[in-house]
């Protein structure tokens, strides 16, 4: 089985899907001959041509709106936001047009919006956001966020096959840092959580880039404690059963979000545990998240707000001692 980076796995999913299904086309800014800002579509132009690897005008609302139109007449568009942050310019088409179409009209809108998200590299306030919660709050949109190379491919294939609009949050900081074995050809990873590391004393619930942070934080065993790491992978649908299973096993929970804390995915997980897992707890639910500030540019400022290995470790230690 070939080894590839998280970014190569995304490219592999797109390439295999396009080879398998003529209906799949890519739409985005600079994705054609140039190969995309992050080179996810490098080489695609030569293989699939300008019509299926479409360089669009610089217009996010149009990219998503036109993708809706193409989807309802039979294509399978995969849109690339150059940065997840720019989805704010296409918010209306995604939330109001795509997200509500099936409920209102019985008309399915099979489209994927790829959103390179996340910080950690001095991208500043407009190239570092984790906007997944915006879409969790909008009925009709699915939201997934892989943390590994194999899941990046499997979840993206599944997203392309899904008859609904899917927000695919791909973390930029993982693009070239994370690698792993990834099967050739199309395969699907269902939208559910996975236990990244089993344990029984405490569970760290996280997703995206925070999975790697959590695994590193607990790698030295935390004074002999058995710590589980649950990778949500999918935020909508949220795998409630997997979360509650972990809570039942571990009784103590730390939830980590790279996103701003208020109403984040982790806040929803905390609410779920409060509602359905209260009796399973043996301590307060602890959250580690970015405070409610724009992501600052300068390295010491950015480092001051983003969750990191030390903060997660500290939160786990405190809760284990509770």
């Amino acid at each position: 089985m070939p080894t590839m980076t998280y970014l190569q796995a995304i490219s592999s999913a797109l390439r295999d899907e396009m080879r398998a299904d003529q209906r799949v086309l890519l739409m985005g800014e600079d994705i054609g001959e140039f190969g995309g800002a992050f080179k996810v579509t490098d080489g695609f132009f030569d293989e699939f041509g300008p019509e299926r690897v479409m360089d669009t005008p610089l217009a996010e609302s149009a990219i998503i709106g036109c993708a809706v139109g193409a989807a309802v007449v039979g294509l399978r568009p995969v849109c690339e936001m150059q940065f997840a942050d720019f989805i704010s310019c296409g918010f209306d088409q995604l939330v109001n047009v795509a997200g509500k179409m099936y409920y209102r009209q019985g008309l399915a809108v099979p489209l994927v919006v790829r959103m390179p998200s996340g910080g950690g590299f001095s991208g500043g306030p407009f190239h570092s956001q984790n906007p997944e919660a915006w879409f969790m709050h909008a009925p009709g949109l699915k939201v997934v966020a892989p943390s590994t190379a194999v899941d990046a491919k499997g979840l993206l294939c599944h997203a392309i096959h899904d008859p609904n609009p899917v927000c695919f949050m791909e973390h930029k900081h993982l693009y070239r840092r994370v690698r792993g074995e990834v099967p050739d050809g199309v395969f699907e990873t269902p939208f559910c959580a996975r236990v990244a590391q089993p344990g029984s004393d405490l569970v760290v619930v996280c997703y995206g880039a925070m999975v790697e942070v959590a695994l590193e934080a607990v790698a030295d065993g935390l004074d002999g404690a058995s710590v589980e790491v649950l990778d949500l992978r999918s935020l909508v649908p949220l795998d409630e059963e997997a979360v509650l299973d972990s809570v039942a096993r571990c009784s103590k929970v730390v939830i980590v979000d790279e996103a701003n804390a208020t109403c984040a995915a982790g806040a929803q997980v905390a609410a779920l545990i409060a509602e359905k897992g209260f009796e399973l707890l043996d301590g307060p639910v602890v959250r580690v998240a970015t405070p409610d500030v724009p992501i600052p540019f300068s390295p010491p400022l950015e480092a001051a707000v983003l969750p990191n290995v030390e903060r997660v470790r500290e939160a786990c230690r405190e809760l284990l001692a509770y």
Binding site: G69, V73, Q93, N96, V97, Y103, Q105, G106, A108
Partner: protein, 355 residues
């Protein structure tokens, strides 16, 4: 690329100026019939609203019937439509049964959206229509995307959408016009210039007539008397021929007047009475009726048949059940195959002959 900008002359407005050579007598009766159905259904719905039976508010297209009737009549079964809230005649022509339309207004399970959305926020997917959203002109982009797919697949089809003068101020108008121009797509944009966006008049909306912007995006812009259904048909027929022939998009500015308030709750006291009176004399239904009467058509009989159809539809809609509250949270997501839009009904003899 030529840009035709021809505002309707005073001598044309109110007269029976344009007669398309592509319309048979039956076609011309159908155009009247669809406008009568739109007006009659909306009048019926308005009275049901006043009786408290139509929930929410109620939006109609009184005085603008020719815009949707004429344009939709030119569309082939395989074309796709994003219809707006003052364009009920497009649904009528496309084949949505009057009882389903009234059930839609009444929030019944038999309505096109099964009570999930109100007013004319609907499109029957099986008839090739996409239901609008309230944010205007979002559907311009959806129509552009459909046209993009047609062009990519090499199909001789087009997409059409309607929107108002207020819509020309939003970014999606620009994004759709630009995209359609860049990719030279088979899409028709019908700008329904009805003089007011809610209470805002044209001089607060734009400094330049938006039809002139078409040239800036690299395609044709045409102004037409939006109260003449046959002129609407002809200009749309030409736009469609241009679209499927590879000639790119067309912006049609249909000049008309919103004769009622923005919605039922709006008394439109901001509109000068003289303006309303001026446009009342240009009523599109009366004009088509006069045109047909002059040809010897028994217009009273057409009106009576439509009225009877609306009465029957009203009974059927009122007898139909409300949606089951247990279903309110169901079907947010599609769990089966994604069905594509189906073909609609096309009434124009040009399509009937083709099949």
């Amino acid at each position: 690329m030529s840009t035709e900008v021809a505002p309707p002359g005073e001598e044309e407005v109110g007269a029976v100026a344009v007669v398309s050579e592509h319309l048979t007598p039956d076609d011309r009766i159908w155009l009247l019939r669809s406008m009568l159905l739109m007006r009659g259904l909306e009048e019926r719905a308005m009275s049901l609203y006043r009786q408290g039976r139509v929930p929410g508010s109620f939006y109609d297209g009184f005085g603008q019937e020719a815009v949707s009737a004429g344009a939709a009549f030119a569309m082939a079964p395989e074309d796709r439509l994003c219809v707006l809230h003052r364009d009920l005649a497009a649904h009528v022509i496309r084949g949505v049964a009057p009882a389903r339309i009234l059930a839609q207004y009444l929030g019944r399970a038999a309505g096109v959206t099964r009570g999930r959305d109100g007013n004319v926020h609907f499109g029957d997917p099986e008839l090739g229509c996409v239901g609008m959203v309230s944010m205007l002109p979002d559907m311009m982009l959806v129509a552009t995307g459909m046209a993009m797919a047609f062009k990519l697949r090499g199909e001789r089809r087009c997409a059409i959408t309607w929107f108002g003068d207020g819509s020309t101020s939003r970014g999606d108008f620009h994004e759709a016009m630009n995209w359609a121009g860049v990719q030279r797509l088979p899409v028709i944009f019908v700008l329904e210039n009805n003089q007011y966006a809610y209470s805002t008049p044209l001089d607060k909306q734009f400094a330049v007539d938006p039809v002139e912007r078409a040239a800036a995006y690299g395609f044709a812009g045409v102004t037409v008397d939006g109260n003449d259904v046959e002129a609407m048909f002809e200009v749309t027929r030409e736009a469609r021929a241009r679209a499927v022939g590879g000639g790119g998009p067309t912006l049609i500015e249909a000049v008309t007047m919103r004769m009622h308030g923005h919605a039922a709750h709006d008394d439109m006291k901001y509109v000068p009475k003289a303006q309303v009176e001026e446009w009342r004399a240009k009523d599109p239904v009366d004009r088509q009726a006069a045109r047909l009467a002059a040809l010897g058509v028994d217009v009273a009989e057409v009106r009576a048949a439509v009225a009877a159809e609306i009465d029957l539809a009203t009974e059927e809609a009122l007898a139909s059940p409300m949606p089951d509250p247990e279903t309110a949270a169901l079907d947010v997501f599609c769990s089966g195959e994604a069905e594509v839009l189906g073909d609609g009904v096309a009434r124009w003899s040009g399509w009937v002959e083709r099949s």
